[in-house]
Symmetry: C3
Subunit: 202 residues, 3 copies
């Protein structure tokens, strides 16, 4: 029940981020829906395929597809009444990343994977939807640009395992991981932190 709620919230957050990118590209209604759908389900689909959870999660219940459809409709109406959404795009993207990372970690644990693989799986769950969104919209994926992104997912997932090993209740460790990822990414962008560039100077 708790995990389902988190999953739906992440779906909404990523779907909105997909809508905003797609609308900037002036796609038609269905193009917008498809990009929102791919952004919201892409990471989880890759996750399920890699661990062999088929049919993939979104095919087993109408919950996700209906959530995304409603989100797209609401987002389109909402967008009409506001002018600029760059900040919201970033915020929703960040919330989605935090939520999906931990959902991915959880599924990795269920599949009996090693912690390092759970961390990788969580990071891929969080990033892949955005990567496809950007590739389909012909943009260089956000994840490869100059800000931290995958790094915060990995650190948040590591925090989860550290807390669980310190006997913190799994649910609290879970929420801490999500909060940490969201907070760290917001701070990183606020203070323009970025990973060291290997080329020195530039």
């Amino acid at each position: 029940m708790f995990y389902l709620f988190i999953d739906i919230l992440g779906t909404v957050a990523f779907a909105i981020s997909g809508v905003l990118v797609a609308m900037e590209k002036k796609l038609d209604v269905f193009g917008v829906f498809i990009i929102a759908f791919v952004t919201a389900t892409g990471g989880g689909t890759l996750r399920d395929l890699l661990i062999g959870n088929t049919p993939v999660a979104w095919m087993l219940t109408p919950l996700y597809i209906v959530t995304i459809a409603i989100t797209v409709l609401v987002a389109i109406v909402f967008v009409r009444h506001l002018s600029r959404f760059r900040k919201s795009l970033f915020l929703f993207d960040t919330i989605g990343i935090g939520l999906y990372t931990m959902v991915g970690v959880e599924k990795g644990l269920e599949a009996g994977l090693l912690p390092i693989m759970c961390i990788a799986l969580g990071t891929m769950t969080a990033s892949f939807g955005g990567v496809i969104r950007d590739i389909l919209c012909n943009e260089i994926p956000v994840i490869f640009r100059k800000e931290v992104y995958a790094t915060v997912c990995i650190l948040g997932a590591i925090l989860y395992f550290v807390l669980v090993n310190l006997s913190v209740d799994a649910k609290w460790a879970y929420v801490s991981g999500i909060t940490f990822i969201i907070a760290l990414r917001l701070l990183a962008v606020r203070f323009k932190l970025s990973l060291p560039n290997i080329h020195g100077a530039k």
Copy 2:
């Protein structure tokens, strides 16, 4: 037998559409074959992966790979003797879309999915090959451009379920779905129908 025939016909149609795009990009013989192969098998591969039908369909029989190889050879010879193929590209793409949508719906039903998921699966089967083709050839996917595309797949798949619910024989509902998709897309492009653009004016 009937479904196999439809499947092969769709493979030929999509392979030709792949050949035409690849030749326009002046790829070498193998590049052309790869693009044709990916266009023809991409949608079905995604479909089989999502529902867990592995090894995927084209690996279980030499039928598809041989069909595509022959199609590519014939298409290359054929292309040499004609000058412009824009219209054929569009026509073959349309036929492939109609056929693959219904093959996807059928496989979804076999996997016990809900009608809404069968419709989504059919649409993805029909669109994904073309999306990879366009991404590999560095074009913005046709599906996201200004004409209807996914919409006709969805409407055709819905028509199938409506007809079946009205007790129409499944095979006739199937053929009706395919015909409807092909006819609607041809009409839509002929009369320049397109989905409402969310940005109003433009």
Copy 3:
């Protein structure tokens, strides 16, 4: 043991080719790691997904992820002390292609596929990592450019089946396939061989 060694060597070779492309694009440390990881595991992941080997190979042991991490670190340090790496990029890419083609053929045989499907699977194992690398780095995939690439994989895989049918020991046939692919690609590029372009003059 023998196959594991080949697999690790291919992982190192492809990871380095990923590092070099990613550094040319001036990505940050994590971007470089991700591209290296995707280049090294992309082909094998596609291979495992297509034949239904899930969880995919790299998730079942920390071996690959650790190998890639070490390779990336060493490659970054190594790169700092040398100026130009175009030739090494090409060489490592070629070694990776030879190794992965035969690993793919081997896995296809284990899955009971027909020789023609093993050849296709080997070629996809060898090419897909590089294709994703190039797509993510916004380059037209090397595989579709004017040099031979998939062709040598296919010829090498065919050589393997020919030798095995001539009762050559499987291990020697395996090594011959790898060597043939590497040698043929180096020769092809050295002497600027390329497949006939279908457009004649060009």
